[in-house]
């Protein structure tokens, strides 16, 4: 095994790591997006990834393909035809009765088989519970690299996938490459990428691939599925207006001020991670790298410093408003509007002021 040659420091990055791609990987072309569908519903993250995948495919001048796995029937066909409206050049379908519910064994075989047969260069999956379960198994089976929870995807000058994600520690990002293995795999969380516009397009090329498994081959059985109660679901990720609080609020009682403002605005409320760790707020309300990613029209953050893990979860918002006592807080580096003041005093006043401004009667005033 040849040691990488020691290059002078300036050239270290590339020269030390870039080897010639092994011959058998050169056949790997095109960008793929795994279209996640369960019980007939396509997860929106799949269309968000189609938007990102389209950009990569255009840069590489290759095709963008959608891969749909599921039971035979209407839902899977529909997901495949829809994928063309979100930018696909072609779609692969693996449809079989054993794929009715998500099960790791069957889905791993389905996805690995299509990858080995049609050889994509890049494979993207949503970082959902399904996508993460599947991606880890598929990458290990293929013995290739997988970069989790990316916040940015790009291809560099020589065509390698540059996958950026926050890294350990609080304020850094890192860009990860999978240089000598194929496919280059990455997962991206819901709402990190913008939803592309849907444009009506014909489904021109659909390739069906046989799975070759029977139910007896699969050990794991699904006994039942218990859907979440509607009341237990928060719409945080897809809300138009979000108000969140952080450690700067000082106590769980003060967090009520965030809920109060959210109620007046018809907004969802959220928080930074330490509040979940302290048990002040439930974990489904956490915003950021290890919580939810949001893309609201308006985001108000009170007493949140703006660490990178928080920032990556909110950067897609149209208007970010920060309330913080420290004028040097990092949140002011990415907020659009900031106010340097005590949130505990401002929040009640702001709630009242909004209540007055947004009365139904003021709607008539705006309309006229």
């Amino acid at each position: 095994m040849s040691e990488p040659t020691k290059a002078p420091p300036a050239a270290a990055g590339r020269a030390a790591t870039k080897k010639e791609l092994p011959e058998h990987f050169k056949a790997y072309k095109h960008v793929w997006v795994f279209i996640e569908q369960e019980r007939g519903q396509v997860h929106p993250v799949s269309w968000e990834l189609m938007g990102a995948g389209r950009k990569l495919a255009d840069k590489l001048k290759v095709d963008l393909a959608a891969v749909v796995i599921g039971p035979p029937g209407e839902a899977v066909q529909h997901a495949a035809t829809e994928s063309f409206c979100y930018g696909a050049d072609l779609a692969y379908i693996v449809a079989d009765d054993v794929l009715t519910d998500y099960r790791n064994e069957a889905y791993t075989k389905a996805l690995t088989d299509v990858v080995n047969t049609y050889k994509p260069e890049i494979l993207l999956l949503g970082a959902t519970t399904l996508g993460r379960d599947l991606a880890g198994s598929v990458a290990t089976t293929l013995l290739t690299g997988l970069t989790a929870d990316c916040t940015e995807l790009d291809v560099d000058a020589d065509g390698s996938l540059a996958a950026t994600r926050p890294t350990f520690g609080g304020s850094l990002l890192c860009t990860i490459y999978t240089l000598n293995y194929r496919p280059q795999m990455a997962t991206v969380r819901p709402r990190v990428m913008p939803m592309p516009d849907r444009v009506e397009k014909p489904a021109i090329r659909i390739i069906e691939h046989k799975l070759g498994l029977v139910e007896e081959d699969i050990v794991t059985k699904v006994l039942s599925f218990i859907p979440d109660r509607d009341s237990a679901k928060s719409n945080l990720a897809y809300a138009d207006v979000v108000v969140a609080g952080g450690l700067g609020l000082g106590s769980p009682e003060n967090f009520q001020l965030v809920k109060g403002l959210a109620a007046v605005l018809g907004a969802e409320f959220g928080c930074s991670r330490p509040l979940v760790q302290k048990g002040w707020v439930t974990s489904d309300r956490q915003i950021g790298q290890t919580g939810k990613t949001i893309r609201p029209k308006l985001y108000i953050a009170a007493g949140i410093s703006g660490a990178i893990q928080h920032r990556v979860g909110v950067e897609g918002a149209d208007l970010i408003v920060a309330i913080n006592t420290d004028k040097n807080a990092p949140i002011f580096d990415f907020a659009h509007v900031g106010i340097v003041t005590d949130a505990i005093r401002l929040l009640p006043a702001l709630t009242e002021a909004f209540r007055a401004r947004l009365s139904p009667h003021s709607r008539d005033r705006i309309a006229s």
Binding site: N104, G145, F168, G169, S362
Partner: protein, 281 residues
């Protein structure tokens, strides 16, 4: 019943600081802890052992100092601790990590008996990928149950396990065969305090320590940095937005009014949108 729990020693993230000039992580003096997510896996394992008898073996790959976390796990009641440590393991990404851990689990299996269940946490707070669990399962040919919220039933005689798995929009109730790998969801249990006897035992316990060779690693090039298909090309601080945040001046009026005025001035449509959002029409 033999249960293996994979735990990782991680720096306590709450105390990590980034060097303001060099943008590197300042690890010195940062205390280490057991990855908090792994404690849910450990407690689930201990509960099964208490119910069915048998042993819990905790396993970690890390520097020699990771022994601290293993001893901690023993104080909670684990029966045996294995430390996989070797300079060849340094710089491993998830694929190289699962190669090493899977090899060690095979060795544990030969030495102390085959595990019925391998547990991992949902994810680590430093690597934060949630891939090591599924990777180990794949390498060992184990069935996998990820994001498990509740283990409903284990039948050691029939060699089956039934568990509730968190999925998008609901919970899947799955039944599969042992041996399998389970990744536990957070907040599903609370780690026990540990008995005095365990604390005493932990202090004196011999930690089984294996190098790559001792663990049975056949191909050193599959370990550590060398065995990692992914490489970190660039570490950088996020840039500020080109345009700085407008800081609201409230010297002449109430801060709340000043802020609202600024928002509506900046985005004229916002007032109408908020009125709709506020009243649901």
């Amino acid at each position: 019943m033999h249960i293996v729990v994979c735990i990782k020693q991680v720096p306590d993230s709450a105390q990590i600081r980034v060097h303001p000039v060099t943008n590197t992580i300042m690890r010195q003096g940062v205390p280490t802890i057991i990855n908090p997510y792994d404690l849910f896996a450990l407690e689930a394992a201990l509960q099964l052992r208490d119910k069915f008898g048998g042993e819990v073996t905790v396993l970690t790959m890390g520097p020699p100092s990771a022994e601290d976390s293993l001893r901690r796990a023993l104080t909670y009641g684990a029966d045996r601790a294995v430390l996989l440590t070797d300079r060849f393991f340094a710089g491993a990404d998830t694929l190289a990590t699962t190669y090493a851990l899977a090899t060690a689990i095979r060795k544990i299996s030969e030495t102390f008996g085959a595990p019925d269940i391998v547990f991992t946490g949902k994810q680590t707070i430093d690597g934060d990928t949630a891939q090591v669990g599924p990777g180990i399962a794949k390498r060992l040919g184990l069935l996998q149950l990820t994001y498990v919220a509740k283990i409903n039933e284990v039948d050691p005689a029939a060699r089956t396990i039934e568990a509730e798995r968190r999925s998008e929009g609901g919970v899947q109730v799955l039944k599969t065969k042992l041996p399998c790998l389970v990744t536990m969801l957070e907040a599903t249990n609370e780690i026990r305090r540990g008995a005095m006897a365990d604390a005493l035992r932990a202090a004196r316990a011999k930690i089984v320590t294996w190098s790559a060779k001792e663990a049975g690693v056949e191909d050193i090039s599959k370990c550590g940095l060398k065995g990692s298909p992914t490489i970190v090309k660039r570490v950088f601080a996020p840039s500020a937005r080109a345009e700085k945040a407008t800081i609201v001046d409230f010297s002449t009026r109430a801060p709340a009014e000043a802020l609202i005025e600024e928002l509506f001035k900046r985005q004229p449509k916002l007032e109408a949108e908020l009125t709709i959002s506020a009243h649901g029409f």
